[in-house]
């Protein structure tokens, strides 16, 4: 089985994602489009944290943000192992509906020698109306 480092060198973020059990637990996918890395949370009944409005659990929205951040750091630093998260702030702007895909994209705000600061935006049908934004620090080794 290829190491994470080999998968990273091959730029196979989908394969890195599939290596992580939690990704299939909540249905997270990683890929690239013309704007860069894109992380997708697929509709999944068991992700629901609010049955009244059929919203995704806030913790899973946080996980989507963390995952998009991890993948962005992997892309920008090509580390040997998965980067360690230091802290994460999630701001919830609108309900994240469980019956629709949620998309997340990370922006590397600052990449230092030891610390990466990443901002992540999450949206559903309309990219102009984000459902959540987050920022996180990662330890870069």
């Amino acid at each position: 089985m290829p190491t994470l480092k080999k998968l990273r060198e091959a730029g196979d973020f989908g394969a890195i994602n599939r290596r992580i059990p939690y990704s299939s637990f909540v249905s997270l996918e990683s890929g690239e489009d013309d704007k860069g890395l894109l992380t997708i949370l697929r509709p999944r009944e068991s992700n629901m944290g609010n049955t009244l409005i059929r919203a995704v659990h806030g913790g899973v929205v946080g996980a989507l943000i963390e995952h998009a951040g991890v993948m962005q750091v992997m892309k920008d630093t090509a580390p040997e192992h998965l980067p360690k998260i230091i802290n994460l702030t999630v701001e919830y702007l609108r309900p994240c509906l469980v019956d629709e895909e949620a998309f997340a994209r990370g922006i590397m705000v600052k990449l230092g020698r030891r610390i990466a600061n990443v901002r992540v935006e999450v949206w559903q049908s309309d990219p102009e109306r984000p459902v959540a934004v987050g920022h996180a620090h990662f330890l870069v080794e």
Partner: protein, 154 residues
């Protein structure tokens, strides 16, 4: 579920909790619930591993446990049933969780105002003084936010 220790008024909260699909999927259960204070627990589950090289659970599990217990404790201080919405949640990851051990989240309300409830908490295995993560969260009370379709911001 510690039904015996839970004030009568708060029992309906726990009845709702067990119906939520992601709580069930993650096996989140309440260990202690009182006004302004709660502890929940989630057992180790290999399906939630975030680092396949170490077996450490994904940070998303910590986030989910903390969002759950912070939201739960925000509900315990309401005088009458109202919807609440998480405004934000911040987590500091202090050390990795130990593979194989149950994760607990403990939270307390440290300030109540008419519109916003302020909550802080920790994630840990056995000792809240040896935390895996520290967390603060704020909740909007009586939010019109969770309305689907149309302008719904909290």
């Amino acid at each position: 579920m510690p039904q015996g220790d839970v004030p009568e008024k708060l029992k309906p909260l726990l009845d709702v909790l067990v119906t939520l699909p992601h709580f069930r999927e993650l096996g989140v259960t309440a260990e202690r619930v009182e006004r302004g204070f709660a502890i929940v627990r989630s057992d180790y589950d290999e399906r939630t591993i975030g680092n396949p090289e170490t077996g450490v659970i994904h940070g998303g599990v910590v986030t989910t446990v903390m969002d759950s217990v912070c939201g739960l404790v925000a509900f315990t201080v309401l005088e009458e049933p109202k919807p609440i919405a998480t405004l934000d949640l911040r987590i500091d990851y202090l050390k990795p969780a130990t593979p194989g051990k149950a994760l607990r989240g403990q939270a307390e309300v440290y300030k109540e105002t008419r519109n916003v409830t302020f909550v802080r908490g920790v994630a840990y295995h056995d000792d809240p003084d040896d935390p895996i993560a520290n967390c603060t969260a704020t909740f909007m009370i009586g939010s019109v936010g969770f309305k689907v379709g149309g302008e719904g911001g909290a």
